[in-house]
């Protein structure tokens, strides 16, 4: 399945080919630990890591920011 991914931190878009159908599968493919990001769908609504994706769906990966 092909998913369009927007990486907020890098302000960069890329297409990712995954075997599964969940957000977690995208993170794994991109080698991103799920403990450092939150993820939104194309409507900018936050979704969980077990959110089921559809072909060509777009997600946005947003880094958690802790510094102050």
């Amino acid at each position: 399945m092909k998913i369009k991914v927007y990486l907020e931190e890098k302000d960069k878009e890329e297409f990712v080919e995954i075997d599964g159908d969940k957000v977690n599968d995208v993170l794994e493919k991109l080698n991103i630990d799920p403990g450092i990001v939150i993820v939104a769908n194309e409507d900018n609504e936050l979704v969980t890591n077990d959110y089921i994706l559809e072909e060509d769906e777009e997600i946005k990966i947003i880094p958690v920011i802790s510094g102050g």
Partner: protein, 312 residues
């Protein structure tokens, strides 16, 4: 006269200004964002500010932390900033609390609104549980590199609903990634603007406001309640003292905070500069509430140095 330009602004007016004057706001963490937000709140005419911080001013703070100057180096931040703010607006009642916020002392925050300007997820979890239990709105802010975010919590969802899966130990810090002073000002401005909107009964954001200052891009992300959230279901592990570390790596330097029992600083074997709140030398800053900042390579080494020079 002092607030005339703010009162002219139709969304605030004289009625809004009166609401600000009657408000009590706590600012937790007086580093980059906190010092800047505290300044904006004081200038805006908040009636009472409670300023909380555990740290002392250091030279490398001056690049991004508002109001502090070279004369403040070595002084505790809460007291230093209180002195500066009193010169900016003597009408604001200011209470400075030099302490590491934990489940035992968090009840000292008796505020209408809490601004989170801390540098760690653990304290945010504690603030979240305290504010959720006591129905106090709070505003999370975070900055790193050229990015920052703000999120209001007013009761529809909580911090744990969104950030339950975060692994704090894997997050970047100012120490590893650096931070621009310009993003600090933007995020502080957004945070205080949300605070003023909330205190003057205007509609507030219920989205994550995420800003990158290199490309000047602002994104907003919709947040919703997680029905399985422990905090929303009344389970307060941080507030009950079941979660939380006695040893914490401080943001911005290779320093660990180790907590112990209270003691008399004058009876320590260590030598250094002694102030009202702490004793400072090259490798240690020891506070009279039992905390110590220790330069060490790792947690275990910090604990060992604490035991050796301060006690168990």
């Amino acid at each position: 006269m002092r607030y005339s330009r703010q009162e002219l602004f139709d969304k605030i007016g004289k009625a809004g200004q009166d609401l600000l004057k009657k408000s009590r706001v706590a600012v937790i963490g007086l580093g980059a964002t906190g010092s800047s937000s505290a300044e904006l709140l004081a200038r805006a005419g908040i009636g009472e500010l409670i300023l909380i911080d555990r740290d002392v001013v250091e030279l490398d703070n001056l690049q991004r932390q508002a109001l502090y100057n070279e004369d403040d180096i070595g002084n505790v931040k809460a007291e230093a900033i209180k002195g500066h703010l009193e010169k900016i607006n003597s009408e604001v009642k200011i209470r400075a609390l030099v302490m590491d916020l934990d489940y035992k002392n968090i009840n000292e925050i008796k505020a209408d609104l809490v601004l989170d300007c801390t540098d760690n997820i653990e304290t945010r979890n504690l603030i979240n549980e305290y504010c959720h239990k006591n129905k106090i709105p709070w505003i999370y802010s975070g900055v790193i590199g050229d990015n920052g975010l703000v999120l209001n919590f007013t009761g529809n969802y909580c911090f744990n609903c969104v950030f339950d899966n975060v692994k704090p130990e894997l997050l970047g810090t100012c120490d590893t990634r650096g931070v621009l002073n310009t993003i600090v000002k933007v995020i502080s401005g957004i945070q205080v603007n949300e605070a003023i909107k909330l205190l003057t009964k205007q509609d507030c954001s219920n989205e994550i406001i995420y800003f990158n200052i290199s490309n000047n891009k602002l994104e907003k992300y919709k947040v919703k309640k997680n029905n399985e959230c422990k905090v929303c279901n009344g389970i307060y592990d941080y507030l009950d003292g079941k979660k939380g570390n006695a040893i914490v790596k401080m943001c911005g330097r290779g320093v660990y905070q180790v907590k112990g029992r209270k003691f008399d600083l004058t009876k320590l074997r260590l030598k250094g500069k002694l102030t009202k709140y702490c004793l400072i030398n090259k490798d240690f800053t020891i506070f009279n509430d039992g905390r110590a900042f220790i330069k060490a390579g790792n947690k275990e080494k910090a604990k060992s140095l604490y035991s050796k020079f301060i006690g168990n």
